[in-house]
Every structure is written in C-alpha cells, then in structure tokens.
C-alpha cells in the first residue's frame, strides 16, 4: 500500500475508478479495527470487514466535511471506530428495554436513607442533605425525560447511544438532556449554602474530622 498525502487520498477517492484508493482505504480500516478490537474476541473478522465497508461509504459521503485538521487517515479511522462501536453497543443492549431499566422497583437510584459507615457525624449530616436535595430535585424539578435518561444511563449503566435510540433521539441530544439535569441538580445543591468543596469532602472515603 502506497503512502498518500491528504491531497492524494482526497483526489483519488473523488475519482475512485482511477486508482486503488478505495480498496487501500478499506484494507487500512480493517487493519486499524483489528487493533481497536484486539481485546474483544467476540468480534469476528467478517464483522471488521462489514464495519470497514460501512465506514468507507461514510468516508466517501463525508469527504466534503473533512476539515484538514488531522491526517486524512486519522479522520477515516475515527469514522470506522465510530461505526464499529455503534454496532457493538446496539448488539450489547439489543435485548434490554428502556422500561426494564427505568421502571424496576428499586430503580429509585438515590437511596432515601444513605448511611456511609465510614462517615463521621458532620459528614453524615451533609450526606443526608445532599441525598434529600437530589431526591427532591429529581422528583420535582427534572422533566420526565431527564429523569428517565438519568435512571437509564447513570443508575442502569445503559449505553447513552442505546438509551437515546429508545427515546427517539440521538447520543448528542441525550448528552444535552443529562447536562441540563446536572446543571439543575448542581444549582439546587449549591443553594443549600455549602460550597462544592464542602459537599465533596463529605463524600470522600476518609473525610476531615
């Protein structure tokens, strides 16, 4: 495989019939994915070929959006990795419904009573305030969508991408939903008069006496 400059890659991929750039790119992406998936024995060689094939198509349609801020091949590998992980997450979560994760009886993930055995009395008082505030904010101030996303992603450990898909949105938009939820929780926590440092100190394994 010949090394190409960014310009050469772009020129040849725009006119793929003239050279072997397409097939070189596909081979390069497969080799790259082998490194990315080296610790995932469940991913077969034919999976890698499928991922690379899909990535090549995305690269070709995305050529106008290449920003020349990295090597072309880094950009293409980024797309291949994204394609591969998107599919692997879909497979990993395909049998799990959002309802299962967000409506389980003990899915109220902030415990009403939280007792950290390692905490002293002052720490315990702060912890109780935090727990109360978080629970109240989640119940009263967050939207149902924010609450559901927090439940699935933070408590249920579900993939952001797959939670988003089930909620009829995408990963980027769901990140923003969670960001808004965190901002609200932060505002309400800090409204209690303690600094962020004081609050965090109460949750350290060995807090100050």
């Amino acid at each position: 495989m010949t090394d190409r400059t960014n310009q050469e890659w772009l020129a040849e991929l725009r006119e793929p019939a003239e050279g072997g750039a397409l097939s070189d790119l596909r081979s390069l992406l497969i080799r790259g994915l082998r490194h990315a998936m080296s610790d995932r024995p469940a991913v077969a060689e034919e999976d890698l070929e499928d991922f690379a094939q899909e990535a090549v198509l995305k690269v070709l349609t995305g050529l106008p959006s290449f920003r020349w801020e990295s090597r072309f091949t880094t950009w293409a590998h980024k797309i291949a990795v994204h394609v591969a992980f998107t599919e692997l997450r879909r497979r990993r979560w395909q049998d799990v419904s959002l309802e299962e994760i967000t409506s389980a009886p003990d899915s109220d993930f902030i415990p009403e009573r939280f007792a950290d055995p390692a905490a002293g009395p002052e720490q315990l008082a702060v912890q109780e305030m935090v727990v109360r505030t978080l629970r109240q904010t989640i119940a009263r101030d967050l939207t149902e969508r924010q609450r559901q996303a927090m439940m699935a992603v933070l408590a249920g450990g579900m993939s952001l991408q797959e939670t988003a898909r089930r909620m009829g949105t995408n990963r980027n938009a769901l990140y923003k939903v969670l960001h808004d939820a965190r901002r609200r929780l932060k505002t309400n926590l800090l409204a209690k008069g303690l600094s962020a440092q004081d609050i965090l100190a109460a949750f350290e394994p060995r807090g100050p006496e």
Partner: protein, 77 residues
Amino acid sequence: MKPEPAMLRGLVRGVLSTRQDEIGCDECFEEVDRFVEMTLAGKNAAEAMPLVQDHLQRCRECREEFEALLAVLRGLS
C-alpha cells in the same frame, strides 16, 4: 440495584463539576482526531483542547472511541 457510596460519590462529583460550556458528543467527535494526533505527538492535548478533555472524562462512549482510535494509530505506527 443497590445504591453504594461510590455510586453516589460519582454522581455528586459529576453534578458539582458540571460546567455551563460543556460540549456535546458531536462536537467532541469533530475534534477528537486532532486531539488524538496531539496526544500521540506528545503534546498537551488536554490543555490545548480543554472542552474535549472535559467531555472525554464525562462521556464513557466518546472516551471508549477515543481510546480505540489511540489503539488504532499506535498499532499501525
């Protein structure tokens, strides 16, 4: 699921470190190839692109893809 101190601690840290100017997954994806190349060149990508660094710390999926991309480029070099 049983709530554990570590989970609550993680949640509280995540909440309190929330910034107004966080970027989302799309913007992170746009920038991450440059971030990876800087990292591999031994440059301080976190300092040069603090919002990307912040997002990678918060978003498990973007971090996963960033680490995989690092593995690809290291493996091929």
